[in-house]
Structure formats: structure tokens, C-alpha cells
């Protein structure tokens, strides 16, 4: 059994950690999958996914540290007119920050619920905002109610 859901959000900041844990939990619990895996994927190249403790101070620390690790001003090759877009490609730092985070997360699903630590929060990480963004939640596994278990 496979349930795929796309979720679209509007971000507000250039770098922003958006808590998407409730969306994932809700999707798993309504999917009908009893035992399996939930995959979460960003559909962009200047965003990331991160799992960490859901505290505002840590969110700010992560955002500041990412900005510091990949400085805005360096002689990036990706600082040119991008003919395939018709705009200046001047967002190399966002791409590099995203490559450090990765674009996916996954968790087991058991008894129809996500298996994750109580302090684990799943963040969609905007790195070139504000923008409209979409992530996918894909729940794959065996259905409940006896179906698919024999």
C-alpha cells in the first residue's frame, strides 16, 4: 500500500525552519498503513529537511550556523545569468546549504503510528525564501485491518 501526499507552504524568511511534524503524523495516521515506512522529501534544491529538538533557540542556532558555514560572499561559479530561468543565479549559498542538509527524512511506521523520538521535530528548512514550497510525504507499507498481512 502506498499513500503519497504533497503539502505546499509559504515561507517567510530567507532561512527558516518550519515544523512539519504534525503534517507527517496526521498523514501517517490517516493513511491506513499499519506497518511500513514514511518518507518525507523536499521537492526543491534550495531547501533541506532536518530532524532536531523543537526549540526556538536551537532553530535560530541552526539557521545562524548554516549561514556562517556557507558565507554569502565568495567567488561562487553559480553567480551568473541563468538563461534557462531568465534571471540572475545568485543563490549559490542556498544551494550549498541545502546540499549539507539533504532533502529527505524517513521514519518507521508501526501500529499505524510514526516511530520517532519524543524530542524529534521534523523541519522543512527554507534556505532561499520567502517562497512557495512543496514537500512530499510518502507512506508505504502494509494496510491495517488484516488486509495485506496474509
Amino acid at each position: 500500500m502506498s499513500v503519497l501526499r504533497r503539502v505546499t507552504i509559504l515561507t517567510r524568511k530567507e532561512i527558516e525552519l518550519v515544523d512539519i511534524t504534525p503534517e507527517i503524523v496526521r498523514t501517517v495516521e490517516s493513511s491506513g498503513v499499519e506497518d511500513g515506512t514514511v518518507f518525507v522529501l523536499s521537492l526543491h534544491t534550495t531547501t533541506g529537511l532536518a530532524v532536531n529538538e523543537g526549540l526556538p533557540d536551537l532553530e535560530a542556532d541552526i539557521a545562524d550556523f548554516l549561514a556562517g558555514l556557507v558565507p554569502e560572499e565568495r567567488p561562487y561559479r553559480h553567480a551568473r545569468f541563468l538563461h534557462s530561468d531568465g534571471q540572475m543565479a545568485i543563490n549559490a549559498p542556498a544551494h550549498l546549504r541545502g546540499s549539507m542538509l539533504g532533502f529527505e527524512a524517513f521514519f518507521p511506521v508501526a501500529g499505524g503510528k510514526i516511530v520517532k523520538g519524543s524530542r524529534q521535530t521534523v523541519y522543512f528548512v527554507e534556505l532561499d525564501g520567502p517562497q512557495e514550497r512543496t514537500f512530499a510525504i510518502h507512506v508505504v507499507g502494509e494496510p491495517g485491518g488484516g488486509g495485506g498481512r496474509d
Binding site: T11, R80, G86, M88, E132
Partner: protein, 285 residues
């Protein structure tokens, strides 16, 4: 802060309901990435620290069979948010261009005229086609933005966008304020020449050359015309412009900040000069 140069061509609410506009944005203007909701435009302004943005259309009816977008669409956007300052555009080749401009300003409440000789394919020094529009701008008390310098639009022709083509017009209409965008690059010297000589010529900083806005402005202004020339000679004629969405608004602001302008010139370029040009009073919300 006022961004004196933005184009609302990737606003989803505008583009998705108008297939002809969507095609023109791709094929004439050359923007090929997905449009975003209007709310994202406003949030980008927030994040960049921009209070208000001047929305510039281009009427390319004769040259390309399209408006990018129409004056009514600009007026509707300006009605949706007082953070938008809508300009009009008319096609100088149309026989009723003056009537259209008068209607856009007096009827729709638009605050200035945008012409793009490179896309509209006309000589901005043409006495028959262009001068009547400049004269009308003077009568209406609105400024005119005349594209100058390289055109990144695939259908634009830079040969119509040499700043010196405007000198006779600037000289003939001293009561009309002319804005030359993009610092006129690669003819920045010509644009500066006009601004140095004529007090009714303004330059906006929306240069798109190469690299980041910080590097482009460092090259074109810092190593080219020099900050001291701006500080000493045309402090009242410089406007901040991003050329959004061709260029990121946030990084355009950072580029201007990195130039090392005096506080007085930075404030003038980002608020005071545009407020005076547009008759806005305070300059920012």
C-alpha cells in the same frame, strides 16, 4: 525603503488567469521559472526591508502583440496593496498613445510612465512618437522611466537603449523627470553624463551585469563611475532599484549596502529621492 524598479510578471494571480500574458512573459520578457503567489512578493519585500515597490509594465502591442502586463492589471495590483506604486506604459507607435496615458494616470491613478525602447522598438529621441508622451508627462506631473542599457529580454534590442539617445528629450522637457534604470550599463558613462548635466535625470541602481549585485555594483560604481561622483554631484538623483524578479530583491539591497555610501546618500537613494520624485511625502510607510 522604496524599490523604484520591480516588474510584477511572476505574480501567479496575474499570470495564471491570462494565457497570453503567460506566453509573453516566457517568450518576450524571458522569465522561465514558475510564478509565485502575490503574498510571496510581499513577503520578499518584507525580508528585503522594502516598504514600497514601483511596479513597471511595458506595452509592446505593436512590436510583439502583448502588454507586460496591461495598465488595468497594474492598477488592480496597486489597489490590493498600498505598498505597490503602479506605473503605466503605452505603446508610442499607437495613434492614441497620449489618450491611453492620460486615462491611465487620471482614470486608473497610475503614478508615472514606463517606456522600454529596446522592447517597444522605438527611438526614445523620436520627436513625433516619443516627445508628445514626454510633454504629456509634464502636464500630468508624473515621471517617465525609460529603459537604458542592456536588455536581458530575449526580444529586446539594446541599440534603442543608448542613454545619449535621450539627451534632446531631457533638454527639451526640463520640467519632466526622466529615470534611466540599470545605471545604463554598459553605457554607464553616458547615463552619468546626462545625470551630471541635467537635474531632471535620475539613475536607478538595478544594474544586472555579472556576478552578485554586490560584485556588479562594486565593479560598475566602485571601480567605474566612483562613489564620490554620486556623493558629490548627483546625491538627489540616485534611486535604489532591484529589477525584481530578474534579480533577487534581498541581494540587491545587500549590494547597495555594500557600496559604502554615506548615510545621507543611502537614505536619499532608498527613500527620499523616490518619495520626492513620486510625490509621496514621507518616502516609506
Amino acid at each position: 525603503m522604496i524599490d523604484a524598479h520591480a516588474h510584477p510578471l511572476m505574480v501567479r494571480e496575474l499570470v495564471e488567469g491570462d494565457p497570453a500574458l503567460a506566453r509573453a512573459v516566457r517568450e518576450v520578457w524571458g522569465l522561465l521559472f514558475p510564478p509565485q503567489p502575490l503574498e510571496v512578493f510581499l513577503r520578499e519585500m518584507d525580508e528585503a526591508g522594502v516598504d514600497r515597490a514601483v511596479l513597471l509594465p511595458v506595452d509592446c502591442t505593436t512590436a510583439h502583440g502583448c502588454c507586460l502586463p496591461g495598465n488595468e492589471a497594474i492598477a488592480r495590483l496597486a489597489e490590493r496593496s498600498d505598498r505597490f506604486i503602479g506605473f503605466a506604459s503605452v505603446d508610442p507607435a499607437l495613434p492614441d498613445a497620449e489618450r491611453r496615458l492620460e486615462r491611465a494616470v487620471r482614470g486608473l491613478g497610475l503614478r508615472g510612465l514606463k517606456l522600454d525602447p529596446a522592447l517597444q522598438r522605438f527611438d526614445p529621441g523620436d520627436r513625433e512618437r516619443a516627445f508628445p508622451l514626454y510633454r504629456l508627462c509634464g502636464e500630468l506631473g508624473v515621471p517617465v522611466v525609460v529603459h537604458a542599457g542592456m536588455s536581458w529580454a530575449p526580444r529586446g534590442l539594446a541599440s534603442f537603449a543608448r542613454p545619449f539617445l535621450l539627451e534632446e528629450a531631457v533638454q527639451s522637457f526640463p520640467g519632466v523627470n526622466f529615470v534611466l534604470p540599470h545605471l545604463g550599463w554598459p553605457w554607464t558613462g553616458e547615463a552619468l553624463m546626462l545625470a551630471l548635466k541635467y537635474r531632471n535625470v535620475f539613475l536607478d541602481t538595478s544594474v544586472i551585469y555579472a556576478r552578485t549585485p554586490r560584485e556588479a555594483l562594486a565593479k560598475v560604481v566602485g571601480e567605474g563611475i566612483g562613489v564620490p561622483a554620486l556623493e558629490g554631484s548627483i546625491p538627489g538623483q540616485l534611486l535604489f532599484g532591484s529589477n525584481y524578479p530578474r534579480q533577487d530583491m534581498r541581494r540587491a539591497v545587500r549590494g547597495l549596502k555594500s557600496l559604502g555610501l554615506s548615510d545621507a546618500l543611502y537614505r536619499a537613494a532608498t527613500a527620499g529621492n523616490a518619495a520626492r520624485l513620486l510625490g509621496l511625502g514621507g518616502g516609506a510607510r
